[in-house]
């Protein structure tokens, strides 16, 4: 099974167009959050309509898996916590969103929402516990923010990861975490697009300008991940230790 990971497209329409073209070649496209851009000139409620249509276009071509990121929050929920209800409204055949766990190609994919307060955090914990009981491997998490102290969160000056995710990974030992949020790591010295933490592979494709998104193609049949960006292409054998971080933009 081939999963194509992108994240942080931030309403870059040409990159969404590129995805529509690429979709038929993979078994699923994973959009790991921040589909919208809170700093963009287009109002967020309009962006929601456009991205919702893109999700439909993608779903006409492959399975779509999309979690929310911090840019995707548009309303407060009943607990007063910021949330992305529009993304849940986008759920339909071949579109899995926040809160879903689906089996695809023998793997279990759990789609975690961005949590913005204690109530939602508890819901994510419950979602992971419930998915763990299904006992399906490989288990793939889609979660916007990579774990703490990983080179996939290296900004160039600090590690900027999610300690809560680290705790859940230590508890449940997923096989793969597909993330985003921190744009720079693959492009920075000492940063990385791939990391191995215990039994878990963590991927963050990063964010780049231009018509094509930086992306990671995870091929579960070949045990291989490939990162493609403006810098070219790198391949990671998932049976081996991660390739050493390398200086690229110093």
């Amino acid at each position: 099974m081939r999963l194509l990971l992108v994240s942080d497209l931030h309403y870059t329409l040409r990159q969404f167009d590129w995805l529509v073209e690429a979709a038929p070649d993979v078994d699923a496209i994973v959009l790991a959050g921040d589909h919208l851009d809170v700093s963009g000139v287009v109002p967020l409620d309009v962006q929601v309509v456009v991205i919702g249509r893109y999700l439909e276009l993608l779903a006409e071509r492959t399975t779509v898996i999309a979690c929310s990121g911090n840019h995707d929050l548009t309303q407060r929920d009943e607990a007063g916590e910021k949330a992305a209800p529009w993304l849940r409204t986008s759920r339909r055949d071949r579109i899995a969103v926040d809160g879903d766990s689906l089996e695809l190609g023998g793997a279990l994919l759990t789609v975690c929402p961005w949590w913005d307060g204690p109530v939602q955090r508890a819901m994510v914990a419950g979602q992971l516990e419930a998915a763990a009981l299904r006992g399906v491997r490989p288990w793939v998490w889609v979660y916007h923010w990579p774990p703490a102290d990983s080179p996939t969160t290296w900004t160039g000056s600090r590690f900027y990861g999610d300690a809560d995710l680290s705790g859940w990974m230590a508890e449940h030992h997923p096989d793969i975490v597909l993330a985003g949020h921190v744009h720079q790591p693959p492009f920075k010295a000492d940063g990385a697009w791939a990391d191995r933490i215990g039994p878990t592979w963590v991927f963050n494709a990063g964010h780049q300008i231009g018509p094509e998104p930086s992306r990671v193609l995870v091929d579960l049949d070949r045990n291989e991940a490939t990162w493609t960006s403006l810098l070219g292409e790198e391949v990671q054998d998932l049976r081996l230790v991660p390739v050493a971080p390398r200086p690229v933009f110093l």
Partner: protein, 160 residues
Amino acid sequence: MPDLLALSADLPTVELDAGEIVVREGERTGRVFVLEHGTLAVSRAGVPIAEIAVPGALVGELSALVGDPHAATVIAATPARLRVADDGRAFLESTPAVTLLVATAVARRLQSVVAYLADLKRQYAGAPGLDMVHTVLSQLADGRVVAAEPGSDREPDPLY
């Protein structure tokens, strides 16, 4: 300026259970509703369009204004309470404040459309993707887009 909740305080209320219909696409009721609490699901031709959960949100106002049948079906997604004006147009004309609030909401929708089109011209230059403009404009014209409250409490930095 007072909001619609304050301006509609004298209207009778209706309690709905989840699944009950507020208005049905294609029907002409003349009613206008003001949401007190709960979540409403909006669909058109069976396709989900939006959810309405903001207290004070209007339902049926465009139909009352232009005299057309309701353009979408609105269903209570959760238990909900709404205020109802059986003569919606009379309610919209009842005070200048109500009329101004409705006009402001319509103007905001127009601003959104203009901003969207202007940005399309900037981001595209005859490239593919413009096919969806009609779809997007149709959804925006439905007027069911809820004003967003951007940002995260947990991650306030928009650079991430």
